[in-house]
Symmetry: C2
Subunit: 349 residues, 2 copies
């Protein structure tokens, strides 16, 4: 007879369905604001973390990556793919799941979908960065690229910074229409624009999140006025950038983890000694963020494992007392740990 697995063998699994329930239970904007705070807290203790560039497996069609990190007590990793052609087959460009484990035992303590959670943590991180880098009192943002990330980005900037106006542009008008529809009850004033040039008019924050896996020029230098904050999240792997390099020559650039960003970010276009500031140093008060209202700031965001760590930790905390998870039996747990075979043998019904 099969015996029920012991408690140690069971870990909470958050399906996509349960993640959606959890998000609505908390409220999207509340979640984005709280998560921005958790990410900021982990950036403040950045030096504690094990940091390693992600482990990427590249293919013609895309990339599969593993992103591990640890603060010495909790270990996390995320599995994430990026396959730009997936969309034309009705599949997600990016899907992800992630795990938390105890460093002291190596035992997993949480497994969860992270496709939704990655969109949420990316938006929360963007907004947290903008809190340090955008002009105070910014009320208008441009969103170039209106794909799967767009609404999350807009709502995070609203929740964390008080953004009121969102100006949209995408090469595909259907993507913009989708974003307008989804934000119709958000309280944001949303405008569809006929070009990037028009979209950025009056915007204090410009977010680029396009998906082509190529060197693209979504923004050119002449488009960027004084004082703008650019939140570049689409240029995130080798061969994929969104900004003309002349912008990088005028902007002060802030990054997550330089060894990774110099390979994957907008700054892959620049010399290895192109100056950058690590965002965590701004958060920790060790480096200045925005210095004046004329400075062009650029958050060259590629996504880093510590942000996933923050998001996983936040979900684990928020799950307590809810029923928004299943318990799955993923760890073999014989009564005598040396008796793995005996456990197998006794399971023979």
């Amino acid at each position: 007879m099969l015996q029920a697995p012991s408690q140690k063998a069971l870990i909470p699994f958050v399906s996509v369905e349960n993640m959606m329930r959890l998000v609505h239970h908390i409220g999207v904007e509340t979640l984005l604001e709280e998560l921005a705070g958790v990410v900021e807290g982990d950036f403040r203790r950045w030096e504690l973390f094990d940091k390693t560039p992600r482990v990427a497996s590249h293919s013609r069609e895309g990339v599969i990556e593993l992103m591990p990190t640890s603060d010495g007590e909790i270990y996390s990793f995320k599995y994430v793919n990026g396959h730009p052609r997936n969309m034309s087959h009705g599949l997600q460009t990016v899907t992800a799941f992630g795990l938390l484990a105890e460093v002291s035992t190596g035992y997993p303590v949480l497994l969860t979908e992270m496709t939704l959670l990655t969109a949420l943590r990316t938006a929360a991180t963007s907004a947290m960065a903008a809190r340090h880098l955008a002009r105070k009192g910014a009320r208008t943002m441009a969103l170039i690229g209106n794909g799967a990330q767009a609404e999350f980005q807009a709502l995070a900037m609203k929740a964390v910074l008080g953004i009121e106006n969102v100006r949209l542009y995408d090469i595909d008008p259907a993507a913009t229409e989708k974003t307008i529809r989804n934000l119709s009850d958000s309280g944001l004033s949303v405008t569809a624009c006929r070009s990037s040039q028009v979209a950025i008019e009056g915007a204090e924050i410009i977010t680029t999140c396009t998906a082509d896996k190529q060197f693209a020029t979504i923004l050119t230098d002449n488009m960027i006025g004084a004082g703008v904050h650019i939140n570049a999240i689409g240029g995130d792997c080798p061969g994929k950038t969104e900004l003309h390099r002349d912008i990088l020559l005028r902007a002060d650039t802030f990054v997550e983890y330089p060894p990774q960003t110099r390979i994957e970010g907008e700054i892959q276009q620049m010399a290895p000694d192109y100056p950058v500031t690590e965002l965590w140093q701004v958060v920790a008060g060790l480096a200045p963020g925005r210095r004046d209202d004329n400075q062009i700031t650029l958050f060259d965001s590629v996504g880093f494992a510590i942000e996933d760590f923050s998001a996983l930790r936040y979900v684990r905390e928020k799950l307590r007392g809810t029923g928004f998870y299943q318990e799955i039996d993923i760890i073999a747990d014989p009564d005598d740990p040396r008796d793995l075979f005996g456990m197998l043998q006794r399971a023979q019904g």
Copy 2:
């Protein structure tokens, strides 16, 4: 209302309970023999695979590792920990789970427990190596270290090589008693021995699988007679070895992936130019295995990602037509892939 997730969003998950059902459905020895064949087949096409040393996160208590690989069509990774002190807290020293994904889309296609499966693949790989490296007609093996791996090792050598006699030694007699009990119906003749020295008497194959995370000397040079095959599976991370280095000076050593084995295997004790043969070259007929009956052969096994790939692929194949899995909803799959937010919004019940 929450809608049921589409087929694309669901992947089969094999719990520990279902893995045990699957193993009994196939039969342990049949599985070990078939799996040895699958591992051998993947060793034969070794050059096709993406190979990278595993990504390890070391702590005072142990290590958590991610082991990815790909043959260009299928991607796999395993999460595995090694925490020697876990046993004293009633936990497994090693737990693991793993995943297969399509390279072309990045979408996962299988998630499974791998604590049991790792024990099975390690034993199958040991037996496959011994088929190439041990003396023909070997009938007796010694098993030094009678922990969680022991019975799997013995049964794989029986199923693949026809081993008839197993001689056991462990510093803890209770571990040996456990192994004898578990093998009582196996058809093997099993003998408990009072020392390693006694256990290896007459053994053509010596398997060492002890768990201490330290430089240990389970076997000394004077114990090793001509013609023996040593299957060293316990020395598998930096600072953890089982054999006296003098044995390595007499033996011909075969390894999985030299860049990893030189860091983690028995040969971490040797100079970087210590000569080794890659086992895949023996399997592919590109290098000799055992040359004569007096040669001492050593398989310095640390476990490599391709073996997990083989095991995962085998499980995926064997699952078809069985009910030994649950479907879990780990991939967000909106109707329009760009409309992740709309999916979330529509889930608000």
